[in-house]
């Protein structure tokens, strides 16, 4: 099933890429090949890839019919991943406004309390604060990396 979706995605992507390539503005100066030739080659490569995938799908249908059961073991847990992605996105969105120190500490506090239930909240909170302050100091003062201070005065 996944392979069929990938197959369709490749075709759509190839279409979009060809379309976008044809819209690159070109001047009649510079190198004879221009900025479009290589991308066109890549587009053709995508079509070949789609054909290869189709070939593999047909081959696999012929050969592998028996062992379908063990695949069910690793279905994953998409809800957890979506939650982690959303929390991280909020963190990134707030990062420049709140500043490194505040946003990182809050993020760690939230994440560790969701994902480290066995550990007590005290350990989680200490980690969040000590890491936040320590890394802020280390990166800005010792390594000279620019990190936003945000709403805090330091």
């Amino acid at each position: 099933m996944a392979d069929r979706i990938i197959f369709v995605c490749i075709l759509v992507l190839a279409g979009v890429y060809f379309w976008a390539t044809s819209h690159i503005a070109t001047l009649e100066i510079g190198d004879p090949l221009g900025p479009k030739a290589f991308p066109r080659l890549l587009g053709v490569g995508l079509l070949i890839t789609a054909a290869m995938l189709l070939g593999e799908m047909i081959r696999d249908r012929k050969t592998v019919k028996q062992p379908a059961a063990p695949a069910a073991a690793d279905t994953g847990n998409p809800a957890v991943v979506v939650m982690a992605v959303v929390i991280t996105l909020i963190f990134f969105l707030a990062f420049e406004t709140l500043g490194y120190l505040l946003s990182v500490s809050i993020y760690l506090l939230v994440m560790t309390n969701i994902f480290n239930k066995k550990g007590r909240w005290l350990v989680n909170s200490l980690t969040a604060v000590i890491y936040g302050v320590g890394s802020y100091y280390a990166f800005t003062q010792l390594l000279g990396v620019n990190l936003p201070a945000g709403i805090l005065p330091f």
Binding site: I10, L33, L42, A50, N77, V80, M111, T112
Partner: protein, 504 residues
């Protein structure tokens, strides 16, 4: 080897033993061991994260450190494989079979010792190989024109595409995606913006650091968090038995270490295969040669010694094409190449002429690094094992915050943060549907160069594609590329044929 080369190698030692470079060798291999021990963050992501942080450092020291991480992870990876049966690095996967079985039998100490010693012997052997082969290969590569380079990159990419994943088509897809991402931004030859989608930050292209951090670090964190929630994170075994080998264990290990070292080095030099395949090949070789093949899988020391040796000499082997040709043959060396370029250094044959101090300082630091790693991974292994007790629920969010610094540190742009998250999700999904990410990173790093050499070659030939079949070198490389695409279709047929033959 002529006198000037010999002089360069000797000078390289004086570079490598400068206190500052010794220090960065140590930092590199120390971080490498940590990264290796921790499942969930690998050499590619950690090297990428270090690029923005080490900016402004002397390039020789920075590159010595980053290479230290690369080969250091292979030492650390075996510890996790032996004690919790999870490879700390993908290449330690074979060690997690017999290494863990040895640990269960109370021989964890011996398993750790043979990994460290085997890694040291084979790692050093690999660096000797690198020293010997570097100069002849580099002088051969000096004769390469754009057509040769284009076909060489073609071969590297097709080999990586078909050898890294389960499906050749998906590997090809990853390669093409990397090349397409590389075309985003201003075209340097014509000055035209391509595929920027109206986003001003894309004019400079999509930074390779953000792609690597997303695909390797963030995606790995998402996978890890998933398993934390499922409660599948395993517990670590205690180190049992002395951290040394009995005389009999020595005798059994020394052959596999040598053979594994040679196999690993050869696999490393060739594009595509990499450490995982090297260790699998060593494992199957040892099993075939063994008088007690039934022991394999039940705690055979040969099954630890060989693969561990192989995946360490593989790293030195993989440095050969990176340094001499300027073409990496896999994901992690592609990231290293990205680091070179960020420092304004183009690896390849010219580097041996222009910056022998850097090249040989780097290569010779690997001898020293391997000695340091032996010490870190034998007497001091207990320190690193404690890392395995960090709750993953704390570790993974920390990796995200380190990734944030790495991504934000390059341009100070929030766009890069959204991009690492985007590529993190992409990497997570790709893993679920078996699309490998290493080919994508390789082609992303090589994409710009590949297009340049393609256009230069076409300019030389006046637009005639025949230039790619014009010399013996290009012909050979084109044929090898075609073969590497066809291999996945031919091999199963051959195997089938063989097995049918066996049944009769």
């Amino acid at each position: 080897m002529d006198a000037s080369t010999f002089q360069h190698i000797l000078n390289g030692f004086t570079v490598a033993i400068q206190p500052i470079n010794l220090w960065y060798t140590f930092v590199g291999v120390f971080l490498g061991t940590i990264v290796g021990v921790l499942p969930g963050i690998g050499p590619s992501a950690s090297i990428a994260l270090l690029i923005p942080i080490t900016f402004g450092m002397n390039p020789t020291s920075a590159l010595i450190m980053m290479c230290g991480i690369y080969y250091g992870t292979k030492y650390g990876g075996s510890t996790t494989a032996i004690l919790i049966r999870t490879p700390g690095e993908a290449a330690s996967v074979m060690t997690s079979i017999d290494g863990y079985e040895m640990a269960k039998k109370g021989r964890a100490g011996a398993a750790l010792a043979v990994s460290a010693i085997g890694s040291f012997i084979a790692g050093t052997l690999g660096v000797i190989g690198l020293t010997i082969f570097a100069v002849p290969l580099a002088s051969m590569a000096l004769k390469f024109g754009p057509a040769e380079y284009f076909t060489l990159m073609l071969f590297a990419m097709t080999a990586v595409s078909t050898l890294t994943g389960k499906s050749a088509a998906k590997g090809m897809l990853a390669t093409l995606l990397g090349l397409m991402i590389a075309t985003i931004g201003i075209d340097l030859q014509s000055g035209q913006a391509r595929y920027t989608m109206g986003i001003p930050e894309f004019q400079d292209g999509v930074g390779f650091v953000v792609v690597v951090v997303g695909l390797f670090a963030v995606a790995e964190v998402l996978r890890g968090l998933e398993s934390v929630f499922k409660g599948t994170a395993p517990d670590a075994m205690k180190i049992s038995g002395k951290l040394w080998l009995t005389k009999q264990e020595w005798l059994r290990s020394i052959g596999p270490i040598w053979r594994g070292g040679v196999i690993g080095f050869i696999i490393g030099v060739l594009p595509g295969a990499g450490g995982t395949i090297a260790s699998i090949m060593s494992y199957t070789t040892e099993k075939r040669l063994s008088k007690m093949p039934d022991e394999f899988g039940k705690g055979s020391i040969e099954g630890v010694a060989g693969p561990e040796a192989a995946n360490n000499s593989d790293t030195a082997g993989a440095m050969v094409p990176l340094l001499t040709l300027g073409i990496p043959g896999g994901g992690a060396t592609a990231v290293l190449m990205g680091a070179f370029i960020m420092y304004g250094i183009q690896p390849g044959p010219m580097l041996f002429q222009n910056r022998p101090d850097l090249v040989w300082g780097l290569i010779n630091s690997m001898y020293i690094g391997n000695i340091m790693l032996l010490i870190l991974n034998l007497p001091l292994i207990g320190l690193f094992v404690r890392l395995l007790y960090i709750p993953p629920g704390i570790l993974y969010p920390l990796i995200i915050s380190i990734s944030l610094i790495g991504a934000y540190g390059i341009n100070g742009s929030p766009t890069d943060l959204y991009l690492i998250l985007f590529f993190g999700v992409v990497g997570y999904v790709f893993d679920k549907v078996d699309i490998p990410v290493a080919p994508l990173v390789l082609s992303l790093v090589l994409g710009g160069m590949m297009e340049q050499s393609f256009r230069q070659a076409m300019t030389i030939s006046g637009g005639n594609l025949q230039i790619f079949f014009g010399s013996a070198i290009t012909m050979t490389l084109v044929i090898m590329s075609v073969i590497s695409i066809l291999i996945p279709f031919i091999l199963p047929k051959l195997k089938q044929y063989k097995e049918e033959g066996k049944d009769e």
